[in-house]
């Protein structure tokens, strides 16, 4: 299965696998699919406290994010690795997508909130009404 670059992703490394290890779904593709299902999607882990903080941030703004707990997903492990590659850094979570587009980890989310770009983005995605 080949990976295609989509507008919302930018470019990423195509995954290579042998025939024997074909995975049912490419993790990145799955991530992309899940990310576009809702206005605000947070990839998280139930034990991660920073993920808890990011969830509280959105809830505090009045946004209702959809959360995917990787440690509770059968393919969570793969998705975690894919996210690390996507971000270019560890830890993999939390990662936030707004309107199908990648915002980033906690630092990027907070930075965009402080510099005032997050709220317009949320409104555009229909996650926030004011």
């Amino acid at each position: 299965m080949h990976c295609q670059t989509t507008g919302s992703w930018g470019s990423y490394m195509p995954t290579t696998r042998t025939a024997a290890t074909v995975v049912v779904g490419d993790p990145l593709e799955r991530i992309e699919r899940l990310a576009s299902e809702n206005a605000v999607v947070i990839f998280s882990m139930s034990s991660c406290c920073m993920c808890h903080a990011v969830k509280r941030l959105f809830c505090g703004m009045g946004v209702n994010p959809s959360v995917i707990e990787l440690d509770q997903d059968p393919r969570g492990r793969d998705m975690e690795k894919a996210l690390i590659r996507l971000l270019g850094a560890s830890p993999a979570v939390p990662v936030v997508f707004v309107g199908g587009k990648l915002v980033g980890a906690m630092d990027r989310v907070m930075a965009s909130h402080i510099n005032g770009t997050l709220v317009p983005l949320l409104k555009q995605a229909g996650a926030l009404w004011l």
């Binding site: 034990s47 406290c49 920073m50 941030l57 630092d107 907070m110 909130h113 402080i114 510099n115 005032g116």
Partner: protein, 456 residues
């Protein structure tokens, strides 16, 4: 002593007392140990030496006893220090001598030609002992002064025949006595002042030396820190403290320059540069904190590198951005509509971010509690080491996220400052930075006052 007593009781008008006082080199700090009580035994009506005076010398003297260029003055008693700046004739040469009031000795000095043997005492008719004639500063003994005046010398040995003269001119005596006393007092005062100024100058030089040393030490600590391969926790904490101290000093300098610029109504172009300088310097502290957090997160969290009052109102290892914006409040006016909205949004978003991080920290703490209490505790605790170690490993992992929280908090602070800088004009930004700095300075001053407050 016996001889003194004998002398005191004589009615021989030709007798007078010589006394020479030597400052014992090693006794400078313990003048109270001198044998002044012995003088009391002299049973003389107007003993010029008082125990209290002598004792007062050490504490009341503002001059360090280490300095040999010190003139010490007492009420009635005058001790000439070794080698005073004015001292031409000292009874003691070099730095040695002994304060030995018990003995009345006449030491041969360069200016004195007369020497009397030990124990030879001559009394003035109605005066006390104190003849310091061999010293440049004579005692306030009136007769001595009068005698000196008569002879036209400040110092010199007392001559016996002066006694008769003083007795016969009682009327003039009082007036001359008073004049001489005034002169004497004035001279002593001048000497004291001179010595005091001298000491102040020395202290000032020492202070600048120490400041330079401190600066050098701080710079050296920077090298020490970067030279550490595996930094010991204590060293990392110390290193940060020192660097932060240096940062604060530089910050104060920049702020002072900014204040001058604002007050002198400097043009926007130059002001902009100064403001940018302060902002860049803030970036520097966040860089230092980042290094410090990686090295010793608990030290950064503890806030021990801040003053007590700052520490009390600290949030996650630093100041609260939202609080800072509230403080700025009215100081930023006049603001345009757009600016006002920008500042309001900034305050709101920083508040939300702070709340989010705070809740994350609470979750972390709760999680840690759960982990540490999940393995059996108390009397029923099993001896399962693997279990214990497993829980500890999980707890260690959770603790590691502490660094991330601190890091995010610092990022929040940095970004709030930068956004504020973006929204405001140059002049407004300058004022805002001054307000923030002044507020922090006051907190620090409050800490100092609190620590120094009188306690019952």
């Amino acid at each position: 002593m016996q001889s003194f007593k004998a002398a005191a009781t004589t009615t021989n008008q030709d007798m007078f007392c010589h006394s020479s006082f030597f400052l014992r080199g090693d006794d400078c700090n313990s003048r109270h140990q001198t044998h002044f009580p012995d003088l009391g035994e002299l049973d003389h009506p107007a003993v010029a030496f008082h125990h209290d005076d002598a004792v007062d010398l050490s504490p009341s003297s503002i001059f360090s006893s280490k300095s040999s260029n010190v003139a010490v003055a007492a009420n009635d008693l005058h001790y000439s220090a070794l080698n005073t700046s004015i001292g031409a004739t000292e009874m003691v040469s070099g730095g040695t001598g002994c304060l030995n009031t018990g003995q009345f000795m006449y030491q041969k000095g360069p200016a004195f030609g007369v020497s009397l043997g030990n124990g030879h005492i001559e009394n003035w008719a109605d005066s006390g002992l104190a003849d310091k004639s061999q010293q440049t500063d004579t005692s306030t003994d009136i007769d001595t002064d009068y005698k000196n005046q008569l002879h036209g010398v400040q110092h010199g040995p007392m001559k016996v025949d002066s006694v008769d003269q003083s007795k016969s001119k009682c009327g003039d005596l009082k007036m001359l006595r008073r004049l001489a006393q005034n002169r004497e007092a004035a001279r002593k005062s001048r000497l004291r002042k001179k010595a005091y100024v001298q000491q102040l100058e020395n202290s000032r030089l020492k202070l600048t030396e120490m400041e330079q040393e401190l600066q050098r030490a701080r710079q050296q600590s920077c090298f020490i820190r970067t030279g550490l391969s595996d930094s010991v926790m204590g060293n990392a904490a110390l290193a940060f403290d020192m660097e932060y101290g240096g940062w604060l000093d530089e910050h104060q300098r920049l702020i002072n320059d900014l204040r001058l610029a604002v007050n002198s109504h400097m043009g926007d172009n130059e002001l902009c540069i100064l403001v940018a300088g302060v902002m860049a310097h803030y970036d520097e502290v966040f860089r230092l904190k980042s290094i410090g957090t990686k090295a010793d997160v608990f030290h950064m969290l503890s806030g021990m590198w801040k003053t007590p009052a700052e520490r009390c109102f600290m949030w996650l290892g630093g100041f609260r951005s939202s609080e800072l914006l509230k403080i700025l409040g009215n100081h930023l006016e006049p603001l345009t509509e757009q600016q006002l909205m920008g500042i309001c949004n900034l305050q709101q978003s920083s508040q939300q971010a702070e709340d989010a991080l705070s809740q994350g920290m609470e979750a972390l703490q709760q999680s840690l509690v759960d982990t540490l209490s999940s393995a059996c505790l108390g009397p029923t605790a099993s001896g399962n080491v693997a279990d214990y170690m497993g829980q500890m490993a999980i707890a260690m992992g959770k603790l590691a996220t502490l660094e991330n929280f601190l890091h995010q908090a610092d990022l929040l602070r940095q970004q709030t400052l930068q956004q504020m800088h973006r929204i405001l004009t140059t002049r407004q930004a300058a004022r805002a930075l001054l307000v923030i700095s002044d507020y922090t300075s006051r907190l620090r001053a409050l800490s100092s006052l609190w620590l120094a407050r009188p306690r019952n």
